[in-house]
């Protein structure tokens, strides 16, 4: 008990220290490295809180891919010019007030969870036999609240489209070192294997499309950085197909469910994103597999995608 308390206390103090250090580090590079460490400790914190799904997502996306994105942005833009290390007091005051307000709103939202009876887990577990998967978190994400996950995929695609508008600078990838090349040749197939396993595991244990997609993207990124993968371009039809595949499959399932009963496709769905219990399992696995490919391709494009030539 004492050891657990000490560990959790140290974890909390470290998180706060790292967060402060990220904000006040002199160099952007130091901030990014500290942010990656912060993400890993946050993943550990989620694991300690009994939320392995969140821990996996935080480690793969929060620490891994966000870190890679920030580092590649830094490589394209360079260090910021040295400015005043402290914000002027006129800016500190509103920021503090805003942080206080947000803190109060969050506390008011969280307080009932600690006080009142917790209803949601029982509800989620009660409907599990009809959900098509055995893992409650996947059931929530892909069945009860499938609409939210669909919109998350839309957000990811909008982010990619937004970045495409910026006409980012050309990224120069240095020639690979032999040792890194050799290790990449072993690591990339492993990323593929683990990604597929995490996707498959999502049906009955922590795992799922976002974590699997992040792992696949990590494999693709290291392959690209070692010149083992040709440049990933938007004008490649396969790349575009993979980017919209997840959203397309998800929407198709929703639309068939919506209009299917009238057209004689009754068994495929009964309403917008409401799967019949008999087909829920295969439908969820299909959507997740397509979403994994889309997420992986989108993230790869975001990190190592080639900028396009402007056409006159």
């Amino acid at each position: 008990m004492v050891a657990d308390g000490l560990f959790d206390g140290a974890l909390g103090v470290l998180l706060l220290t790292l967060a402060t250090a990220v904000l006040h580090a002199r160099q952007l590079y130091t901030s990014v490295v500290l942010l990656i460490a912060f993400g890993l400790l946050l993943a550990l914190t989620w694991a300690r809180l009994g939320a392995p799904d969140l821990a996996l997502a935080e480690a793969a996306i929060g620490a891994g891919l966000t870190g890679a994105l920030l580092l590649s942005a830094l490589a394209r833009c360079g260090e910021a010019p040295p400015g005043p290390s402290r914000a002027p007091p006129l800016r500190v005051l509103p920021a503090t007030l805003l942080a206080l307000l947000v803190g109060i709103v969050l506390l008011r939202a969280l307080w009932p969870l600690a006080e009142g009876p917790v209803l949601l887990p029982a509800l989620a577990l009660g409907q599990l036999p009809a959900a098509g998967v055995d893992h409650p978190v996947t059931a929530v994400l892909l069945n009860y609240r499938a609409w939210d996950t669909l919109l998350e995929l839309v957000v990811l695609m909008l982010a990619l489209l937004g970045v495409r508008q910026l006409h980012s600078a050309k990224q120069v990838i240095p020639p690979p070192w032999p040792l890194l090349l050799a290790w990449t040749r072993m690591l990339a197939p492993l990323a593929l294997l683990v990604g597929g396993y995490v996707l498959w595991r999502g049906a009955f244990a922590p795992g799922g499309a976002f974590q699997a997609g992040a792992l696949l993207a990590a494999g693709a990124v290291i392959l690209r950085l070692n010149h083992l993968l040709p440049p990933v371009r938007w004008d490649n039809g396969l790349v575009r197909l993979l980017v919209v595949l997840g959203l397309g499959v998800f929407l198709a399932v929703g639309v068939v469910g919506l209009v299917g009963p009238g057209l004689g496709f009754g068994p495929v769905g009964t309403a917008w994103l409401a799967y019949p219990p008999a087909l829920a399992g295969p439908l969820i696995l299909t959507i997740e597999a397509a979403a994994t490919l889309s997420i992986a391709t989108t993230l790869t494009l975001l990190v190592v995608g080639e900028p396009e030539e402007l056409r006159a």
Binding site: T30, V33, W177, L179, L180, W183, M186, L187, L190
Partner: protein, 112 residues
Amino acid sequence: MSDWLHALSWPLLLGGAFFFVAGTVGLLRFPDVYARLHAVTKADTLGLGLVVLGLCLRADAWQPVLMMLLIWVLVMASGATACQLLARYAREDEQEAGADQPPGTRERRPPV
């Protein structure tokens, strides 16, 4: 039998903890990049190896043992690769800054 294994795991776990602490102290105290890398890779390889061996002696089944050994191999390989990359990067950086000076005599970097 299991008591005996349990007792045997203690020195391994403590040895692993020692290498982790020593690696961290080295990372904080050593003067240049190469010495720091030397210190911190000992925690990755030997420290983690001893901890894994200690935990293997306490495992109930062979599957966790296999998984822990696999993790050790992966961490060791990625640690060795990362160490080479960092050392090479530091060396190229030094050669750009001033090729005449031997490594280690340049001004010290602030600890990250």
